[in-house]
Symmetry: C2
Subunit: 356 residues, 2 copies
């Protein structure tokens, strides 16, 4: 059985100062690495610190300096490989500059996002990186901006909000992917997204409050409009949030004999479920169903057939957004920058060439 620790209070600069026989301020100078100290005193203080096993209290430091050395990150769901990759990019870049990351999941819920922001602000993070759950609700983000704390948007822009953002060329990408489908003879298309509407069906772009998805749908429409596809609105499927709901949606979508011949999935988790459902329904990919998905998740190349994907530079997305934030933390003042990273289509074998 372990002996209960006497909870010896951690040793402070004052203790070190006493041990070294110098003033608190002096000890603080060497321990904190600021101000001017003679070498003689420095070694003396360092020795005392060593002897006492001094550990700085970053909290106390933060309180006086006003900077916590921490950035808050809010993503939809860290289990989504898209986000885990981006977060890796963020943490790597942050650590390279001496910052640590507090991670929070919003589960794509605005209320959770607000709560997360409140917590993060209370913890006095130096800056925020957010993938806004709803572009239409941005007052809480606006408020952050007003406090003077830098906030940078990841993957989703909010036009009304004057802050930096890093996104990918969603509209072009979606358009190109859709065109690829069309060029291969597909007309019965579908675009499936996790984004939802109150009644779980899509009427117009107004219903969509996630900017990246909005862009993608526009790209989808662009491609549709360039050909003979009527009312592309009916081709949009919303509400594929979470595995089970996505399965249900996919099952409904694919169960009829008039199911789409080609689907564009808004993220790899959706594509995965569609893939599974197609298999359950004995639909062959690509012969019975073509599939393209956003995000070159690393497993997409090992399915049978391997998936044609829109390759988004996800890690770089995280890296870049952090770089922008760090620049702001460094004092940069400028108009908001909207960085758009290019994507490319990796053609594999999930698109079937139909004869017309």
């Amino acid at each position: 059985m372990e002996h209960i620790q006497p909870k010896k209070d951690s040793v402070t600069v004052t203790d070190v100062a006493r041990e070294a026989g110098v003033a608190k301020a002096t000890a603080a100078r060497v321990l904190g690495g600021y101000g001017i100290v003679s070498d003689r005193i420095r070694t003396k203080v360092l020795a005392a610190a060593e002897k006492l096993d001094y550990r700085p209290n970053e909290l106390a430091r933060s309180m006086t300096t006003g900077r916590s050395g921490t950035i808050g990150v809010i993503v939809g769901d860290i289990e989504n490989p898209f986000f885990s990759s981006a977060v890796r990019g963020i943490t790597d870049a942050a650590r390279a500059s001496g910052f640590t990351v507090i991670l929070m999941n919003s589960s794509e819920d605005v209320e959770a996002e607000k709560s997360a922001i409140k917590t993060l602000m209370a913890k006095r993070v130096d800056g925020l990186i957010v993938t806004p759950a709803q572009a239409s609700e941005y007052l809480h983000l606006e408020e952050v901006r007003r406090t003077g704390r830098p906030i940078v948007l990841l993957d989703r822009a909010v036009p009304e909000l004057n802050v930096d953002s890093v996104t990918t060329d969603d509209r072009d990408a979606a358009c190109a992917a859709t065109r690829l489908l069309i060029d291969n003879g597909h007309r019965a298309l579908a675009f499936v997204t996790a984004c939802d509407t109150p009644d779980h069906r899509f009427q117009s772009l107004q219903d969509i409050h996630t900017s990246s998805v909005k862009e993608r749908i526009q790209g989808f429409f662009d491609a549709c409009r360039a050909t003979d596809i009527q009312d592309p609105e009916r081709l949009i499927q919303v509400g594929a949030l979470g595995a089970s709901r996505t399965r249900a949606l996919a099952r409904e979508l694919l169960s009829t004999s008039a199911h789409p011949s080609a689907i564009l999935a808004s993220d790899s988790m959706i594509a995965l479920e569609i893939f599974k459902v197609a298999r359950e329904l004995a639909l062959r990919i690509p012969e019975d169903l073509s599939l393209i998905t956003f995000h070159d998740a690393d497993w997409t190349s090992v399915t049978a057939p391997p998936l044609t994907v829109i390759d988004q530079p996800v890690y770089k997305l995280g890296e870049t957004v952090t770089k922008l934030l760090l620049e702001r933390l460094g004092g940069l003042v400028s108009d908001p920058r909207r960085v758009i990273l290019p994507t490319s289509i990796i053609e594999r074998q999930s698109v079937y060439q139909r004869e017309l």
Copy 2:
């Protein structure tokens, strides 16, 4: 162009107190939600706080209370779906109890781990969750324990360390999986792990410093010993860390005509690379190569053929480890608890039945 904010200092309890016409201590009581205050005063203070848009400074609060409401999490790599799932479990459980999570990646490097721990300690996290990169180097962990800060181990135990840990039944799982391979007629086996040794080859169990992997190898040996397989040590492949090194290793392993007929992969990222290489080498799975992997990553069911896997309760792993930590934070004193979560094998179609 935006106008530069006058950087108005945040409003403090003192400001609110003044506005409400009460003492600082009184305002603090209602704002901090502690002590006894009359309703009359409470509403008055709340009104003042509202008017001034008061935001609590969690940093200051932490400094006096000594608790930061934060737990530090160090994993090998958040991009590994194993960890992202576990981290999701952790963050969910943490938030449910009002804690936030600071996330750090060790990249399986002990020095990075040490540095992360130092940072986390300085930030005065209330507790730590760590997947130790090396079970042999645990002095820095031991030191954390001595400071009285709870630390809990995730996925990997360190026998010498008297702290709670949550792992899976690695040895049994590996044994069962290996036996499955053997029972299907395989004798030319291989176990591939990310764990590495100085000379990149495996001599004995002493070389392995990751407890979970050690367990798995033992389980592998257990199964081998129960049959006629000699010198199972030669079947262990180490150093599959990162996609490129894993590819190289897999390529070398599978290029000879005497390649293993069955592989047990220590994590899904390894399995993925092996899968890719097998395809490049035109090896059919499972006819030419059987494959079982640890971790039922969600894509493993959509490959062709779908993979037989060891299903680890990863999310629950994260949830449980957090639960243990929170109990410690709540003051629980007891001998270290070593929770071992059961796994199960999901038989799909990547194991070929050989006739003997």
